[in-house]
Amino acid sequence: MSENKSTINRREFFKGAAMGALGGSVLAMGVYSYSPWRKAQFSPVKRKMADIGACKYVKITNISETSWFNNADLMNDIKGAGGLLVDQYLYNWPPFGDGTGLGKGSYEKGIAKIKHLLPNDVDEAWDITEKLSVHPENAGGYACLIEMEEMNGKQHKYLLDSGWSYKWTHECFKREGIDEMLKNREIEALFISHEHFDHYWGIPVTFKYDPNIPVYIPDTFYPEGLQYLKDSGHTGEVIKVKPGLKPIVPGFATYVFAIPIICRVYGEQSMYFNIKDRGLVSVTGCCHQSIIQFAETAYQEIKYENDELYGVYGGLHVSPFEDWDPKYDDLVLSLGKYDFKKIGCNHCTGIVCAKKFAAAGYPIVKGTARYRSKEDVYLGNGDRIGFGIDV
């Protein structure tokens, strides 16, 4: 009888304990998890303060920020091919068009049509791919020339990205004298921000003039992207940059963010320049990681002048397709606290976003709306910006 009673008591106890455990954990979850007390669990940010040195200035020439010319055509292609997850090499966009139509392409079939012409005959290659591709007239591209000077007076020139359309990139290179600089080996390296069509697919135009130029890519490229480097006639060194900080010369480092990006691309490489007596300047291709993440990463990783974020240049990837989302407003509302002194945005920042930035009173550098850039609300094709130097 007493054994029976003890069994009953044990059962009763566990019954209560089971209810209590569920109730107690739910109660703790509800009361503590979003309370101010939870912040006691967070450890303070440990700044690594990596010393990348300092430089006198950085000057940027916008070779092209117009990655495509007609947003509706681009989005209709994306929609028709199955959306923003579709592998970019399948769209049948130039230069990998094979004549089979939207969403049915492949890198192998596309490159086979033009490989024999790369890199020297890029114009002829484009003539061929124009006939085989979807919306070849819509292709533009993103590229900029970066000029910087070290504290000892040594000057450097770099290219960030190499556009998309061979025809458009070639035209822009000639307009800004990039072709001659490459030919004269004045440009020390080509940095590819990420594998997207509008930043990367125009590389043969760079290699036409300097096939031996060192190329820095994020080490997250897909096999097709790596093969394209070879098929484009590149003969120089390829530096695959792992996620994290990579110092290049005093005052200049790149940082690779391991992030997934639309159209099956992974990883983005952006640039930090530490300008003497001014602060940190961020130069980006698309900045898929977001400018605030880029700034926060700088805060955690590197030491910079005056502990100030001084300027920004490049695409900030807010509304590249002129779409909008309330989360973009979070950026517009929050950017002010980072106190950038000079914002040279364009490209995938989006015109609506630039207008919202301007309305919020941020120091947006206006452009001239030349060479097919649509509005002067931000820096357009052929425009220049300097950080630590007047241009």
């Binding site: 008591n9 009763e12 566990f14 019954k15 209560g16 304990a17 089971a18 209810m19 209590g20 455990a21 569920l22 109730g23 107690g24 954990s25 739910v26 109660l27 703790a28 979850m29 509800g30 503590y32 998890s33 979003y34 939870r38 669990q41 967070f42 509706a72 989005m75 209709n76 929609k79 199955g82 959306g83 923003l84 997850l85 579709v86 399948l90 992030i259 997934p260 990006i261 639309i262 992974y266 898929h288 990681q289 977001s290 605030i292 993440q293 926060e296 397709f321 002129e322 779409d323 909008w324 989302d325 309330p326 989360k327 407003d329 979070d330 950026l331 517009v332 509302l333 929050s334 609506v352």
Partner: protein
């Protein structure tokens, strides 16, 4: 009088054709095969219809879930007669009922949301109307309209089952179909509309430039509390509420609310209790991300953005729903040998462990076979789409096809139904207040709080020790 499917799920006996675990394995393999084939046809970005854009595919997935709930939980299979439900072959029944659910789905989206509401009420439900805005492309016009329908669906997928599970169909529980179904549908749709306006409309209002100050509250009232203007804050807790409703209905067997004997109090407590549990989950899953990835940073994107973190709370929550439903549908709500509270606790623990494993498996491997891309926070990474798609298939299999072929449906006899009721009464009577139970309750509550803090301590270490995405 024709009963249609009233009480059908409770009054059917699913007899295993083989000993366990064979029926569960067969059901899993079969439903996964159907999942993958249909995923390829409808959703996969490499497949046929490529609806995973993502919002179009997500919206149809979510509303299809609600169609299934409406047909079974609210309308009790009306207008199909009980004899048809009991005597038709599961394949035939499944095909007919699934086809009808899809038909209603298309009528609802195209007819009600896009046609009626989008043309006569709120323009953002209609892609054609949105295209008239300068600069909006067709792709985003369709996406924005799908997003609006989707946000409505999130609320409806919580309230539709909640009215049955928590409120026990009151006050229409004794009404015959279709009057009962129509009444509950109108009530839940009305509540969904109200909550939509208070939680999601402001999100849509600031989706356009300039902010639509005069038609929606902008910036939204939750901005400071949630650290974002995005409606994902509400998507998060509403998704948690949806998951909680189903956990209460399945592995919790409506425990602990069914212990309350006073009818009105039980219903009110269940309805708001589910919301309270959902909010606890909502806060905890956000906190879990802060502990593993670090504090969110407003204005940034991807895995550090507060709006994405809130969305991810909903995504994490749905991983709990998958094993919970599997345990109920295919494992007979195992275990059943202990007391009701202990059974519930054991099932909850199993579900939590399985959810963590499923989360790991999804992010480590899904990009190899779903046509998605690796990474937690890719803008097109929506684990709620494949998980709810699979859940929909399970619902169709369990509700429309009686778990065929692993199980055979046999209607329970009157004696068996009476025995079920007696057993349920006995189980409830077993959980009665006594001092020993009180001690257990107190000790258990302390243990629950301690376990919570242990989890908080372990989470950062565990995340650092495991690489999910290579």
């Amino acid at each position: 009088m024709e009963r249609y499917g009233v009480g059908y799920l409770e009054e059917r006996k699913l007899v295993k054709r083989w000993p366990q675990p064979m029926p569960a394995i067969v059901a899993l393999v079969l439903t996964l095969a159907v999942f993958y084939v249909t995923w390829w046809i409808f959703q996969d970005s490499r497949g046929w219809m490529r609806m995973y854009t993502p919002y179009v595919g997500y919206m149809y997935t979510r509303w299809w879930l609600i169609m299934l709930i409406w047909m079974v939980y609210i309308f009790n299979y009306w207008p199909f007669k009980r004899s048809w439900l009991e005597n038709s072959h599961p394949l035939y029944k499944g095909a007919i009922l699934t086809a009808i659910s899809v038909g209603i789905l298309v009528i609802l989206i195209k007819g009600f949301f896009e046609g009626l509401l989008g043309n006569l009420g709120l323009a953002y439900f209609n892609p054609g109307r949105l295209l008239e805005l300068p600069g909006v492309t067709e792709f985003f016009a369709i996406e924005y309209a799908a997003l609006a329908c989707l946000m409505f669906a999130a609320i409806a997928s919580w309230l539709s089952p909640a009215w049955v599970v928590a409120c026990e169909e009151a006050p229409w529980q004794n009404m015959s179909q279709p009057a009962k179904g129509i009444s509950i549908l109108v009530m839940t749709f009305f509540l969904s509309t109200m909550i939509y306006f208070m939680t999601m409309h402001s999100h849509m209002g600031i989706l356009y430039y300039p902010w639509q100050y005069f038609t929606s509250i902008a910036p939204p009232y939750w901005e400071r509390f949630a650290d974002t203007v995005s409606g994902n804050f509400h998507v998060s807790w509403i998704m948690c509420a949806t998951v909680t409703v189903w956990i209460v209905e399945t592995i919790w067997e409506r425990f602990p609310f069914k212990l309350i004997k006073t009818t009105w109090l039980r219903r009110v407590t269940a309805f708001f209790g589910i919301i309270a549990i959902a909010w606890a989950l909502h806060f905890f899953l956000y906190f879990a991300q802060e502990l593993t990835w670090g504090q969110a940073i407003r204005g940034t994107r991807r895995d550090f953005a507060p709006d994405w973190r809130w969305l991810h709370v909903g995504e994490m929550a749905v991983f709990f729903l998958v094993p919970a439903l599997f345990i109920t549908f295919y494992c007979g709500n195992w275990p059943k040998r202990f007391s009701l509270p202990t059974n519930v606790l054991v099932r909850t623990l199993i579900t939590a462990v399985a959810a963590i494993l499923l989360y790991y498996f999804y992010y480590a491997t899904s990009h190899y076979f779903l046509g998605t891309q690796k990474g937690f926070s890719h803008p097109q990474q929506f684990p709620m789409i494949p998980t709810i798609w699979l859940i929909n298939i399970w619902l169709a299999h369990h509700w429309f096809m009686d778990n065929w072929p692993g199980w055979k449906m046999v209607p329970k006899t009157a004696d068996e139904i009476a025995a079920d009721h007696a057993e349920e009464e006995a189980r409830l009577a077993e959980v009665r207040w006594n001092p020993t139970l009180g001690w257990g309750l107190g000790v258990g509550a302390v243990c629950g709080v301690v376990i919570y803090f242990i989890i908080l301590a372990v989470l950062p270490w565990a995340y650092e020790s495991i690489t999910i995405i290579h």
